[in-house]
Symmetry: D2
Subunit: 308 residues, 4 copies
Amino acid sequence: MSLPPEFHALAKRVNNWGRWGADDEIGTLNLITAAVVREAAATVRTGRRIPLALPLQQDGVQSGLIPGRVNPLHTMVQINQEIFGPGTVAISDDAVTMGLQAATHWDALTHASHGGRIYNGRPAGTVTAHGGAQFSSIATAPPLVSRGVLLDVARTHGVERLPGDHAVTPEDLDAAEEFAGVRVGPGDIVLVRTGQIQVYLAGDKNAYAYPSPGLSVRTPEWFHARDVAAVADDTLTFEIFPPEIEDLWMPVHALDLVEMGMLQGQNWNLETLSTACAQDKRYAFLLCAMPEPFAGATGAPVAPVAVL
Amino acid sequence: MSLPPEFHALAKRVNNWGRWGADDEIGTLNLITAAVVREAAATVRTGRRIPLALPLQQDGVQSGLIPGRVNPLHTMVQINQEIFGPGTVAISDDAVTMGLQAATHWDALTHASHGGRIYNGRPAGTVTAHGGAQFSSIATAPPLVSRGVLLDVARTHGVERLPGDHAVTPEDLDAAEEFAGVRVGPGDIVLVRTGQIQVYLAGDKNAYAYPSPGLSVRTPEWFHARDVAAVADDTLTFEIFPPEIEDLWMPVHALDLVEMGMLQGQNWNLETLSTACAQDKRYAFLLCAMPEPFAGATGAPVAPVAVL
Amino acid sequence: MSLPPEFHALAKRVNNWGRWGADDEIGTLNLITAAVVREAAATVRTGRRIPLALPLQQDGVQSGLIPGRVNPLHTMVQINQEIFGPGTVAISDDAVTMGLQAATHWDALTHASHGGRIYNGRPAGTVTAHGGAQFSSIATAPPLVSRGVLLDVARTHGVERLPGDHAVTPEDLDAAEEFAGVRVGPGDIVLVRTGQIQVYLAGDKNAYAYPSPGLSVRTPEWFHARDVAAVADDTLTFEIFPPEIEDLWMPVHALDLVEMGMLQGQNWNLETLSTACAQDKRYAFLLCAMPEPFAGATGAPVAPVAVL
Amino acid sequence: MSLPPEFHALAKRVNNWGRWGADDEIGTLNLITAAVVREAAATVRTGRRIPLALPLQQDGVQSGLIPGRVNPLHTMVQINQEIFGPGTVAISDDAVTMGLQAATHWDALTHASHGGRIYNGRPAGTVTAHGGAQFSSIATAPPLVSRGVLLDVARTHGVERLPGDHAVTPEDLDAAEEFAGVRVGPGDIVLVRTGQIQVYLAGDKNAYAYPSPGLSVRTPEWFHARDVAAVADDTLTFEIFPPEIEDLWMPVHALDLVEMGMLQGQNWNLETLSTACAQDKRYAFLLCAMPEPFAGATGAPVAPVAVL
């Protein structure tokens, strides 16, 4: 069994292997140039900062559906410990165990493979238990500071959140862009809002996970055409789940990460940002979204901040 | 036994308890106003982005000296796993266990206490094993995006790095400020460079830890006078270690975190930034340094980015 | 608010504080004498070995009900790694994160406290984040090898498993003892079978947890009268849950661990043992049940083996 | 590059593939029959129980030499927490992260492979990040309760401990057996004492690790001839390290685990047992040494107990 012809047709149209040389490990992050960053900084108007990460906590978004992707277990290893003797300054310290893809995170390009290949045509076998991803680990990512653009598909549709079977299409992205009054361009980091995270925030992890609206298999072409640097949304699966095409699971992951070499973000909380953008009638901003640089990792938590 | 009178004299001069109300949990982070953020964005000239975090890896800065503060243990929980059957898209996933203060991090205000009190006079007993810090956890911090100023004390002294017994004094900060041609002001995040992290980068964790240059017990007053929002440096202990005053251990932690309510950052790699600032002859920049929002935590890893 | 008078009346009758001296940390484990061990070894007839631990796995008995008590997360840190070069012998290594009370385990005496006291009247404050339990940690336990006696309450009642609201009473224990044809005595480790673990084995973690049959608040007196060394059963909560007396939560924990100083075991799989004992018509055997000696821990996993 | 001819000659002589059928996963553990267990129980004379595990603690035997094999990090997740309200019974709970081969442990047969094969000729690729070892994981091991025999090589040589370059040879095992006055036979678990663990107990982890006495590449034949069930010793590396034959690293692991299918134990503390056996002039005993049954694991901690 292998992936169907329609997948390969899509793959061919978005493939970036070799575009930045045979040695490239970062794909579309190459598109964040110094000029893009300067323009991003120039978008700041009010100075308002909006955090986009969920709190990292044991009662996180993971419900046990995905094996090994555990919510953060936070423990104290010292509590007001007078290390240097009674009456001295006391110290508290903590430790954590967590799945790197468990909370608000970026997938590294190596998070997905198909046909034995990762981004840029390297063998998938370069990801091993000993050291993780030899190439394209999250630690190879240059700082993700760029212009952010919110494509608020839910608001564009006039709903609080999209229904679970809504695949976000290129036409939805066009409409949201028009609604936003902004043109998505090279090096942008696009945030797609479905409103789905409200389901988790209301306390239902299972319904948050599935069924979930998310990106259509047709969207990678749209992002490719615009030369977007990275895309994040407010769902667990990023793409619509269950998928649009029977038995074609996780096609968007394969197209974005493997073929195009474009980072994906999941479980981003875009609710406050949505309200702020609607109030300001501005949907472009400075976005700081540097992943924690775990060596060899195929993904990492991130605490993104939009500066309006 | 308790802390000596000279400590209490210093504490009195920098104390901010009640300054932002009895309910305040974030201390000097209140000083990062929207106006400060707007000005920070306006400092961007070249658009160059410089990451300041060390890679998160098992061969990190911890040598076992501090009990429980373990370097990141990164493990793969899935490697190219064809979750939905043979020939489907394959997924790799990872997990980590680490001390939250083990790598490049921010201390939360609750990382230190003395005399049974944390910042704003709350009982130290509000930090417990069940849920961690009830108040002033790192998750209460608003987005740390502000103007960053590099005070390059090593370069000002004309040395690669300060010797292990060098306490960075207010006079050193004045000199570095003059060297930088910039005036530190309200809401700034100050980065103090000693060069000590070179010792770790050269492979010697033990010598990196101790003896280490670092901030003098006299510097909190300087930061207080300037109404700085937060301070980070390139050492394991932040303050000079062993301390300047016999048997007065960790006084700077107590003054900054407990009395003033000012966040501290440690193990920041300021080497590339130092070279870039010297080349550009500019020492102020936009700094994105949002900690991972671990609920209840007394510190958290951060992947800071300077945008020049 | 404090514990009701009826609790204190029970506590007084089973209290062992001072019985083995003011310095004692192990309570009723003192009752496993060399003579008891010799007799235990002499009970072996067939040489059949029956393991009583559940597999340690992510799909373990914990459902998230108890904060922080996480099922084992097993990860590979090396897979067939040719450490000394290509073509050399390859090594696989693993790591785990887990709650020490998450699976088949012993509670240490310090797992419970009430009124600020642990076993033998020591302050509960001797359990801290720094080093865990200073006294009566699981690592202080001498080897738990003794005579095991199965009190198969479910089989005695002629049912597969007891209903969720069945409190196992002293009368139940008497009946099971008579059914077994054995007299429980000093130093014995008693295994009480309710059959409840079948609910977990059938895939329903939530129903396994609650409501659950378990030991009645009246059983500690029975165990005290017989000078039993330790008791384990096949439930998550050990005692009946919800409790028999309104608003008196976890009284058996307080009586067994704090007052009597007797170890408790939970999540033991007694199903195969039950069948074997019924076939052999013998309910006493050699039991090897040494907990993993985690320094400072208030409980630990155990892989018990009954030798018939 | 591949393993030298002398290795393959040795391998041929000890190979047990197919001996217990093509489906076998447990190798020489098949040799622990009910009759062996009955005889083991009959060796008990005094009823004295001697624990053989090191405490599980952060200051354990690992020095960082072996990547990913981390000492136990024990943390408290609840401390005297009054879960059901003020004044109720309080609970303390803990969690741990550790390398499964970090402390006193058994290697599973899958801990080693060579030439792409594990025990019984199965592909090494059956060990994966997803679920670990599909065959011959430590959880497949039947209860390790059998006759234990201490071969006290150090005492036989009249030294406290063997020097770091001493390879324990078949002749050493013969001499220790004669010294012990016992004949090692089918199903026995042999404990080989070098005294090396004294180096760790004296505080020097690095010198404990290397150079270390240990089993010679010639010993697997001896164990094979006697049909031993398993072998453990008091060193970090089990076999002499660095190895006897240049560039032939870890040959004993490959012969014992892969070819013969015989479990190995490391970091066992045999000091107290040595004294007790010498006093009693008896070197055979009942040994309870059941590993924690981690699903899919290639090794596991064990808390062994010798009953004399």
